[in-house]
Symmetry: C2
Subunit: 394 residues, 2 copies
């Protein structure tokens, strides 16, 4: 309503005013996506605001206004079979469909409605995460587990610089987090975590689904992690940036023997120098960490094998390790301050993680093996970041 | 499919492999939002990919797969009555609903489907803009008008630093664009454009709907605009950041006489110094521009009246001017290099712009009066930015 008041205060002319009020009603209708009948109801004051989701003690209520739908269902990522299971919603007053379900354990979940067979986002929920090309509403269940996933009081800066890759033949977009205070301490230098996404992800995956900024902001504010820079590159070698930017992908065979390591080479010989030139980064192995999930865990392992001297902190997450005994021995010799191997106990790559754990033991490379409940999920990857970030650069 | 190949290459164990393939099918189903029956069809190869939107010569085709819907319609921002008018779509093979409509004039439009009365985004379209709390698919119609709205070859950096406001009592998020080359020219200093959104917007409005990064990237790459920094603050004084971050708003009466100018004061006495301290900005009036649309046009006028010495470039867009003759005289005396007043000829604030134009003439303040076709729309605000950005700092 600020706008209305602003306009009223600014223009003192009753003819213009009438025109403005009529147009504002239409602008309002447009801005809120109301249909004509809804607008009329709204104008008559018949419309109660729809609240969704609403946590009520041990339950959560989801609501959707759907005037002409036949069947409305809820699909949630915490359901036993999230890709097939849906829960029926019930039509109530004013065609607001509703369902009340038990509140799941503290974590971040996604959900959507299915209206006559079509997936629909919750128009009432401002909390949205982007997964590849989809935007999905979030349900954040409060608790100790999710405490660091909410906004902290002091915020770091998230930026999207572009680096030039001679190796991949294009300019490519990065996501970079610099901690709170970076701008105000122009002489301070920081260690850097390179944080890699999995297949289907891009340079926005960790910042959106992984809650990287929130986790680091909270850990640093509480004194639980060292202030650090976090660099999140795009791990798809043909992509200049997330598909949402609509830049055509470079179509070459990235799996061919001569091409398959190009991204990791660009990461280690182009991105690392770019960051150390353009940010106040400490350019030493003891101030460099690399971590990645799934495909990014593979990239983490490849990078540590190709450039064993580069990173002193190595964290493959939910990945199957392909290192040879020789590679592990080389890495051990190069010096590792932390090797943090994590996997969910029902992850389809769990056996691969077990194998890697055994190989590291065989070669006597000291490491932390962190096994969590559950599978190949962002719930686990957030937990891993919230865990290993406290152990870096100490 | 990279992921599949990666896993296959990484793990050489057929039991694990079988488990992986089964799980991958489910992960794939989850990732693409397929239902069980669709998954079966997909596995049998029955599924043709749905393409939407598809521009075919002078038409554009929209498609949506909706198995159980009764009525599917298209709503588009280019339709004569975008808030009430919809076009019926027709059910085709495989329950893919389709409609072919004449291609509108080159511009960026938004649209959505209405499935049995409920608004649904196009799951096939990766081009999405955020309007307040809504994500809307875009249709970019190619042509001279939209040439600078697509990705350029050379990209500037978009970042989200936070500044501390004593005046508003909180840390607040900014969006900042620095031009291509900023990182590689550590001694070069740049002029700054402060670019303000309207009511209902936030610090992401200009970057998302306004295509600021694309427009500046293109203009600078073509040599049509000076390389400049663009600062996009949040103009809602109670908000620390866009509502998508879920930070509670400060609830005080921002319209009370003692509060109503607080945001503009924070902009001119806190944001400007923050930018000039933390970015390589030229700290002179001749290197500062201020522009804003609607409510932000009001902020632009207020800022130029409260601090007439601060900005040499002043661009109120689609706004009604409340300046007094004395204020305009003061501004003229302070020196203005460009006063760019723009409004659409069917804008509900057009009379206000006409009045401002007359007042500026009365006081002999030289200015450009740019009247475009159309109303209070992002189509106009993109056009204005694409126009006045070429005239700044020259």
């Amino acid at each position: 309503m600020n706008f209305l008041i602003f306009v009223i205060e600014t223009i003192h002319n009753s003819v213009i005013m009438k025109q403005i009020l009529t147009t504002l009603a239409l602008v309002l209708a447009l801005a809120t996506g109301l249909q004509a009948q809804e607008l009329a109801n709204f104008a008559r004051g018949n419309q109660k605001p729809v609240i969704s989701p609403e946590i009520v003690q041990d339950s959560v209520v989801f609501r959707l206004k759907a005037d002409y739908a036949t069947i409305v269902k809820l699909s949630g990522s915490w359901l036993p079979n999230p890709w097939t299971g849906t829960i029926d919603m019930t039509r109530g007053e004013n065609n607001v469909w509703e369902v009340k379900v038990p509140l799941p354990e503290p974590e971040i979940y996604t959900y959507y409605f299915v209206v006559d067979g079509v997936a629909v986002n919750d128009p009432q929920n401002v909390l949205v995460q982007r997964d590849g090309t989809r935007y999905l509403p979030m349900l954040i269940v409060p608790g100790e587990r999710t405490e660091n996933y909410n906004e902290a009081h002091l915020h770091g800066t998230v930026s999207h610089p572009w680096y030039h890759s001679d190796i991949l033949g294009m300019d490519r977009r990065l996501t970079v987090y610099t901690p709170y205070g970076y701008e105000n301490s122009p002489k301070k230098k920081y260690p850097v975590l390179y944080l890699l996404h999995g297949a289907g992800g891009d340079e926005e995956a960790w910042i959106s689904m992984g809650r990287t900024a929130q986790i680091l902001d909270n850990l640093i504010e509480k004194g639980l992690a060292e202030p650090m820079i976090v660099v999140m590159p795009n791990g798809n070698p043909g992509q200049a940036a997330a598909r949402t930017l609509n830049i055509p992908e470079k179509q070459i065979d990235w799996r061919a023997p001569e091409n398959r390591e190009l991204y990791v080479k660009s990461l280690c010989t182009e991105i690392v120098p770019f960051i150390e030139k353009n940010f106040r980064a400490i350019p030493k192995p003891a101030s460099r960490a690399i971590a990645g999930l799934s495909m990014g865990g593979g990239h983490t392992i490849s990078a540590s094998n190709l450039y064993p001297e580069l990173f002193d902190y190595i964290c493959p997450l939910s990945a199957a390790g392909g290192s040879t005994p020789e590679q592990i021995a080389t890495l051990k010799k190069a010096g590792v301050k932390l090797y943090f191997l994590a996997c969910g106990n029902t992850d389809f790559l769990f056996n691969g993680a077990e194998e890697m754990h055994a190989k590291l033991n065989e070669q006597g490379l000291q490491h932390e093996y962190f096994v969590s409940e559950g599978g190949h999920t962002w719930a686990n990857w957030r937990l891993y970041l919230n865990t290993f970030a406290r152990k870096l650069f100490k």
